[in-house]
Symmetry: C2
Subunit: 537 residues, 2 copies
């Protein structure tokens, strides 16, 4: 006999089967606990099996085991072994891949491609079946297996005596939206690589799959370019300690890949580029006052051929360093004041027939940059400003909606124009709780607008933005977690099964305790406690 | 030639003395950097001396050195040696107490009492004089020496090559207010002892001197009483892992003492006591509904003699465990609903001639508790509610003002009644930044009310309150620091020298970087960077 929900482990003591079932059914009708974000189909029963670290193993299905092992999965087995059995002192040595052990989690996958990177079209589906002495995890790709391993790890619980258990469970799961991102801003404050890696760990626990790296901006240019080293030499907060070397970037990309996470770089232009100008002298527009240069600089100079030569070289490097097929070009908040003050810019406008419409000049610039990145076989993402102010949209592909107000009106406009959308507006988490609490982020439904099925499919996902004005390594984790996890469930799970804040609350509390147990500094949702509190060092 | 301010070390290069002086004077008129909170008198010059960890020593003035060394100061020398020279690998072994070293900081103090505890009347004055090859630090008490050591440590800076320097300096310093507290709430969330100790470290850096330990409340009773062990056995979140043992409490008190910090315990009653009822069955008032007990409980039952027997025993224990001469009795937010519902309470009211004025019942209760603690030679502090709702104030001593609105009107009322005041209202830091930013806490002046000098002297200080609804070990540090430091300067420094937010801003930014360097997770104030960012683990 099965019940369609998970059970709170504490309530499962054997009294009478029917009586127990009644209790469980009552509990379960109100709360579905155990996994965050909630799987699409989740069938569980009170029947439970003990797991012992000494006799637990991960295995490949026989015909796969004969093949070469998959490094992404082998590494994941090691990580999840520690997560499954946190009290078990040693670690890696004890993992055995025999099928004669007492409990084996057996993996099978359709496409045995372990060397590539996750991308926009990667399947993340998986099926997980837990029964006596064994569990099977099937997926189309390694990225699906990683999602299944995360789910499996969340199903395991400890009783008061420290023994590990898992209930009989059957899960079929896939994400509602393909793009589930988190933006970190490493320009307004430098984030040590360790902080980024720790965030990638936590992202995997909530099944986020895109790290949107807003790597440079006005205040600092920490990306160490091999083509233009002066950009960080002169534009970073410090040329040695506050930069991301090529090796740092590779490390981040590799660490993300091992967790099924894409790394989407953003090199925002033509605005938000003050720091670029320090290492690339003729790039920015000189502002004028009273007919002479004032000594200050505005956005990138869109009238100079050298600008596009520079951008082509830079993006050629970026395209080779970052393997993702997407690239974020920014394009937001361009201030026309400086362009307007500059007589050469005005002369160019006249020559091009733009009149006094600086949006046309910006469109001209963006068009050129999009062409540069298209030639590098990258799909470009732009902030909504580019869509809003430009008459022609044919060169655009993906628009990220970020402004407040009726953001779903904007989403509707963009999909009506046939473009894909990433929604960020409701998930600006740099505003701290408790006023901006998790429920605010949970109560969002990106498809709550009038549109055709085809239009709705153009909403490819959403993104949590943690801008850096008031955020650095000291407060990033508690500001992100667990509030970002609320958005994660919205982007992964079936909306009809996850529409109630009240029902979600105890599940999110439990998930937050799991995050603490995994060393993530996730802040509390309300009064209460976790069995294992966060231990500051 | 001296200038009355500190200098930004980076600007001090020897060009021409007069020219340099001009530059420094100009810089200094706008910004006084270097020490937070700002000393009362602070004279510094561009003359600087190199400090080398190998040849730096702390020493006692000769006639003192002959005496027994002072353990509080010996421990402080070790701590501050590491703080002074963070890049210097080894530590304790290298401290030598010879006077033949190249740079010696010599301590002298008037009262060589190292064994006691800081109290409300302890002098914290000190004089610090830094000249070639030596510095002298004079104080009346060891607590004053600790303040001077903190100041000395903030005067030392490193150049770009890692060498350590200090400028010629003359400081005379003392606090504006004697009571400078931080409240932590360990009931709404349990705080690991390590988190409390780390907070005590950070408090010392901002010269806070009272840790107000709101140790128990409705949600949990984590204090492990030796007289009534069931209080935490049944009232804590967990009877083993979420408690403060007697040994934990001793450790906190001892750690605080070594840093010149008093530990003020609060056992709030008669409200805020739900958790007490679990381990002390007859303590709380049974609420009634329709003439019968409803099964729920209200505030402490003020009509039963057993209540006062219990309270006398509990406070006898608390008075012996916590050495401070002050004790906080709470007394806030008593809900009369339950008392009103209970026929026995109503009968008692009638018998006592209280009519239907439950404030009288509460006053009756508080009066008894104050008498119990007075007999134990403790000065009691109560929240403003007790003052507001009671006609007679003769038994009260110190009132803590916490309500929002015109809090200075309340302060004025209390001092007019001849009672001492601690001001907390403007410093409720559980609301997070950036809307509740540091400037909001800096722009407070507790004496900005019409009153006599004598009345103003009754304002003994202020307190930062970090209530625990949404705060635990995961987010406590970035929520406290550096915003609490803004309040610290208000409570320590001369108001006329520290009235400008704009002038304070760069100094606070610099101080925040010092906190990071010392391992305190202090959040950023705005876009920017520190030479040494916080490294998450």
């Amino acid at each position: 006999m099965k019940v369609v929900c998970s059970v709170n482990p504490g309530h499962c003591t054997v009294i009478s089967y029917n009586f127990l079932l009644l209790i469980i059914l009552q509990l379960c009708l109100d709360t579905v606990e155990g996994v965050w974000p909630l799987p699409q189909t989740f069938i569980t029963s009170p029947e439970r099996y003990q797991l012992k670290p000494q006799s637990f193993s991960f295995g490949y299905r026989r015909h796969l085991a004969a093949q070469h092992h998959c490094s992404v999965l082998d590494a994941a087995f090691k990580r999840y072994f520690s997560i499954l059995f946190p009290d078990y002192a040693s670690g890696n040595d004890t993992i055995r891949f025999s099928e004669n052990e007492i409990f084996t989690l057996t993996i099978s996958l359709d496409h045995h491609d372990c060397e590539g990177y996750p991308n926009q079209d990667s399947s993340e589906r998986y099926k997980l079946n837990v029964s006596a002495g064994q569990a099977s995890l099937n997926a189309e790709t390694v990225w699906g297996v990683l999602k299944g391993l995360e789910t499996f790890s969340q199903l395991v619980y400890q009783d008061d005596f420290g023994s590990y258990y898992i209930n009989k469970t059957n899960i079929e799961d896939f994400p509602q939206f393909q793009y589930r991102g988190i933006l970190l801003d490493t320009s307004r404050h430098y984030l040590p690589v360790q902080t980024i890696l720790k965030t990638l760990d936590a992202m995997a626990y909530s099944k986020f799959n895109v790290f949107h790296w807003h790597i440079v901006d006005d205040p600092a240019f920490p990306y160490q370019s091999r083509t233009f080293p002066d950009l960080s030499n002169k534009g970073a907060f410090h040329p040695m300690t506050h930069i991301y070397t090529q090796s740092d970037v590779r490390r981040v990309i590799s660490y993300a890949r091992m967790r099924g996470i894409r790394v989407l770089p953003e090199f925002d232009s033509p605005g938000h580029t003050k720091s670029w100008g320090k290492g690339q002298p003729d790039l920015l527009t000189p502002c004028y006052k009273g007919g002479t240069p004032s000594g200050t600089f505005g956005p990138v100079n869109p009238t100079s051929p050298s600008t596009y030569q520079f951008m082509a070289s830079l993006f050629k490097e970026v395209a080779s360093v970052f393997p993702d097929t997407y690239i974020h070009l920014g394009g937001d908040e361009v201030d026309f004041y400086c362009w307007r003050s500059n007589p050469y810019i005005r002369a160019f406008m006249h020559k091009m027939g733009f009149g006094v419409d600086f949006n046309k000049l910006e469109a001209f610039y963006i068009e050129k940059i999009v062409n540069i990145t298209s030639a590098l076989r990258k799909t470009s993402i732009v902030w909504q400003d580019v869509f809003d102010y430009h008459e022609q949209h044919k060169s655009l592909s993906v628009v990220e909606v970020w402004k407040q107000g009726c953001y779903l009106c904007e989403v509707r406009k963009v999909v009506k124009a046939g473009l894909r959308v990433i929604l960020a507006s409701p998930w600006y988490l740099d505003q701290p709780g408790p006023t901006h609490n998790w429920a605010r982020y949970y109560n969002v439904w990106p498809l709550a607008f009038k549109g055709t099925e085809k239009q709705k499919r153009l909403v490819i996902g959403g993104e949590v933005c943690l801008w850096g004005e008031y955020v650095d390594a000291t407060n990033l984790s508690p500001r992100l977690w667990p509030r970002a996890s609320a958005a994660a469930e919205r982007l992964w799970s079936n909306e009809r099964q996850t529409s109630s804040v009240d029902k979600a609350f105890p599940r999110l509390q439990e998930f937050r305790c799991k995050l603490l147990r995994r060393g993530i500094q996730a802040e509390p949702l309300d009064v209460g406690h976790c069995k294992h509190e966060y231990q500051s060092v």
